[in-house]
């Protein structure tokens, strides 16, 4: 099943399929290791509902929902 990362629930896991952002945000995502086939686990949502915290390539990354919206995922497990 395909889903954007911002639609994930806490504890859900998946693989990156595609990045739909442009320019600076796209590059930043790539540089932080958010590339196709990278595994991402949604760890936590901030107290006010945004941003979110994910585990990727063995470290913790925080990003906003608007940025997560640009990451198309293949859902692996709940």
């Amino acid at each position: 099943m395909e889903k954007y990362l911002n639609e994930f629930a806490v504890g859900q896991k998946g693989k990156v399929k595609r990045i739909t952002a442009d320019g600076k945000i796209k590059r930043r995502l790539f540089d932080m290791g958010v590339t196709p086939n990278a595994e991402i686990l949604l760890r936590k949502i901030a107290p006010l509902g945004d941003p979110i915290e994910v585990t990727i390539r063995g470290y913790e990354l925080s990003l906003r929902r608007t940025e997560a919206q640009a990451i198309l995922m293949e859902v692996e497990s709940d």
């Binding site: 629930a9 990045i19 600076k24 945000i25 796209k26 590059r27 930043r28 995502l29 790539f30 540089d31 932080m32 290791g33 590339t35 196709p36 086939n37 990278a38 936590k44 949502i45 901030a46 107290p47 006010l48 509902g49 945004d50 941003p51 915290e53 390539r57 063995g58 470290y59 913790e60 990354l61 925080s62 990003l63 906003r64 940025e67």
Partner: protein, 726 residues
């Protein structure tokens, strides 16, 4: 002298390594044109002295952040003899991504595999020989913290520095390989690091495309001829993907992971610190505790609760240093207040010492004792509090908590065009604007940094408190408390409104992205903390002190001499400053408080407030306006308070703002301070005066604000409920 550059991700222990290598020889300079620190130091244990340059922490050599551009230009243009790529061994995958880019430059590279002690503690193992084989450059396992392997690292780097190295790339056997070869040929003959430039051109890097348009044409053509492999011809994506691919395939063998079970210590701490409901209250409690220890005059509220107090007449000498003016201290002071009083005491003693040799009746005696020692002393007395505040902030930063603060506060701040990271500097503004502005450095976006500095003064600082206290006495009794409270609230409201205005009319509409690493928690290192504090201290003393000393002397001169200054000193009523005050008071007529016979006195008080905000009070006293004699209506008092709250802060803060802002941003900030204080003071005076319900208006404002806070609390709790359901 040979030069080594330290390059690596943020948080990879680069600074620790730098401190270990250079000891106390480090000094901080500014990069030309950009306000990012370059740190340089000397390593002396080799046959030859080596200059170590600490480049800013980066994740990539892309052209999007100033740090990245600086690092890549340094390596390309300054041609260090060797690049020491510091790699966090506990997070190899992402760290090596930068390594694959650095290797493409024609420069000797050595990889310092840092935090090997942490790897061992986790029970993992890294096969260094394997890594070395894949990377093709020497790899040395070190622990910068425990000083293990650093000498070996430097020895190897030194040997490497005698050699030459041509760039290598892991992209050679990918679909990009053939294109790289052809683009390389199209680049100018005499250009160094062709491989690096060619790859960046293929990625469509703005800087390279501008520098080599012909080669870019060829690159674009070649890319168009390639079959699509699912990236829609987006070579930035292809290259990043191949790098990570290569790393995860080739370095698996080098890492032997122990089978870990359960949560790490860092996870456990994080569970509490970023808890859905408790994280925000917890953060507020932590911040309150910090402020309490730095600024409270009644430690742990022991006076308020138990009536415990120190009276200067009964206290031992050690404490009388603190209450040397003879007033009862009314409670045990916090460490910050205690040290501040001592600092003031020391400068007073210094003044008295000079008083033995010269009289303040002579012009030079007055200049040295009242002008220089008094003025510099007023500013220097803040040093202990600034350092203490920074000690706490550095602990929060080093431990990894600061990143979480940004994480939990981001949502609230984004509405005002700022990110969560802006919260700390603003909060610190309640203590002192100087450290607040310095703390704005943690903000990556220069525009956001400028705005945060601009708004830091809205949060009424410790030195402004005496002004409110003086005015509160005039307002009187119960309303005095409400007056002070509304002034603080007014500051917060104006800060929010200002942020919104800047968001609406500012050039930069986007909030900078928040794609940020949340580093694992670890105990802060004493040595690093001290290095941090030393840097801040130097910054404050050197940069601010020059401007402060000069401006202090100027204002001292203006307030002690008449136009015929060769005739000697005069009373302040007859001074140049008084005349300037009389002249300027016309400008302030519309604000209410500058009218009448005493109007010029308020103007002069405001001017002397530029040295230090406490001077507003001392000048008022000097001019006979003390407490009872203030002849202003409540509207006038509010307007006067508002003007002093929002106008130019003291010289120390102005100097800091200049040092920390961009050039343009600083001038906008100055204009903003002048304009906003005038407009706000004007509105307040006329609104209150016209309806002549001054105090009630203040109460009304309070009620509206309390209602707003309660309402946002309700909205907040609903949000939390909504998200916890999800």
């Amino acid at each position: 002298m040979i030069k080594f550059a330290l390059a690596g991700n943020p948080n990879c222990g680069k600074t620790t390594l730098f401190n270990t290598l250079t000891g106390s020889t480090a000094h901080v300079g500014n990069w030309p044109g950009v306000t990012v620190d370059k740190r340089e130091g000397l390593y002396k244990k080799l046959a030859e002295k080596v200059q170590i340059v600490d480049l800013p922490g980066i994740y990539s050599l892309s052209p999007y952040t100033p740090e990245e551009v600086i690092s890549r230009n340094f390596i390309l243009d300054e041609k260090p003899e060797c690049v020491i790529n510091v790699v966090d061994a506990t997070n190899l995958e992402r760290n090596l991504y930068l390594t694959t880019q650095i290797l493409e430059i024609d420069v000797p590279v050595i990889v310092a595999l840092n935090m090997m002690d942490a790897v061992k503690a986790n029970g993992d193992k890294i096969v260094i020989e394997e890594l070395q084989k894949v990377l093709g450059v020497p790899v040395v396992g070190i622990s910068a913290l425990k000083r293990e392997g650093t000498d070996e690292l430097m020895q190897k780097a030194f040997e490497l520095a005698q050699t030459k190295r041509n760039g290598t790339t892991i992209l050679e056997n990918t679909i990009v390989g053939p294109i790289i070869a052809k683009v390389k040929e199209a680049l100018p003959q005499d250009l160094g690091s062709k491989l690096f430039h060619a790859i960046k051109l293929i990625e469509g890097d703005e800087l390279e495309v501008k520098a080599h348009p012909e080669a870019d044409k060829i690159a674009t053509e070649l890319k168009a001829q390639q079959p699509d492999d699912g990236f829609d011809g987006d070579y930035e994506a292809v290259v990043a993907d191949r790098r990570y691919d290569y790393i995860s395939v080739n370095f698996k063998k080098a890492i032997v992971k122990a089978n870990k079970q359960g949560m790490t210590k860092s996870d456990k701490i994080d569970k509490v610190m970023t808890h859905r409901i408790w994280s925000i209250p917890l953060f507020l409690v932590i911040m309150f505790a910090v402020f309490h220890f730095v600024f409270s005059e009644d430690l742990l509220f022991m006076n308020a609760i138990f009536g415990l107090e120190i009276k200067s007449e009964t206290a031992v000498n050690f404490f009388t240093g603190m209450g040397y003016e003879g007033e009862p201290l009314g409670g045990i002071p916090s460490l910050g207040v205690f040290l501040q009083s001592w600092m003031g005491f020391v400068f007073d003693q210094l003044g008295e010492l000079f008083g033995l040799f010269m009289s303040t009746d002579t012009w030079y005696g007055a200049l040295i004792i009242d002008g220089i020692i008094g003025g510099v002393g007023a500013v220097a007395s803040f040093i202990p509090q600034i350092l203490l505040l920074f000690l706490f902030i550095s602990i929060m930063e080093d431990s990894g908590y600061m990143a979480r603060v940004a994480f939990i506060m981001d949502r609230a701040f984004r509405k005002f065009g700022l990110s969560g990271k802006a919260f700390i500097p603003m909060l610190m503004g309640f203590g002192c604007s100087v450290p607040a502005m310095m703390a704005a450095r943690t903000l990556e976006d220069t525009c956001e940094r400028d705005r945060t500095i601009r708004l830091a003064t809205c949060f009424s600082c410790g030195a402004k408190a005496p002004i409110w206290a003086m005015l509160a006495v005039v307002v009187g009794g119960f309303f005095g408390d409400i007056f002070v409270f509304t002034i603080y609230l007014l500051g917060i409201v104006i800060a929010i409104v200002s942020a919104l205005i800047m968001k609406l009319f500012g050039k930069n509409h986007d909030v900078p992205p928040f794609i940020m690493e949340l580093p694992a928690y670890h105990a802060p290192q004493f040595k690093n903390l001290m290095a941090h504090l030393w840097e801040k201290l130097k910054h404050y003393v050197v940069k601010a002190a020059t401007i402060i000393a000069a401006s202090t002397v100027v204002i001292w001169f203006l307030s002690n001499f008449g136009w015929a200054f060769w005739n000697g000193m005069v009373e302040i009523e007859n001074s140049i400053l008084a005349d300037i005050g009389r002249g300027l008071s016309y400008i302030f007529y519309p604000l209410g408080w500058a009218m009448g016979a005493d109007g010029w006195k308020y103007t002069v008080a405001t001017l002397t407030g530029l040295i230090a905000k406490e001077d507003v009070v001392s000048t008022c006293e000097l001019l006979g306006l003390a407490s009872g004699a203030i002849g202003l209506s409540t509207a006038g008092i509010y307007a006067f308070a508002a003007y002093n709250l929002f106008t130019l802060p003291c010289m120390a803060a102005v100097a800091t703002a200049k040092g920390e802002s961009t050039k343009k941003g600083f001038w906008v900030t100055l204009a903003w301070w002048f304009a906003s204080s005038y407009v706000i003071s004007l509105i307040i005076y006329w609104v209150l005066e016209l309806y002549s319900v001054a105090v009630w208006a203040g109460i009304l404002v309070t009620l509206v604000l309390v209602a707003a806070i309660v309402a946002s609390g309700i909205v907040l709790s609903r949000r939390i409920k909504k998200y916890s359901k999800e």
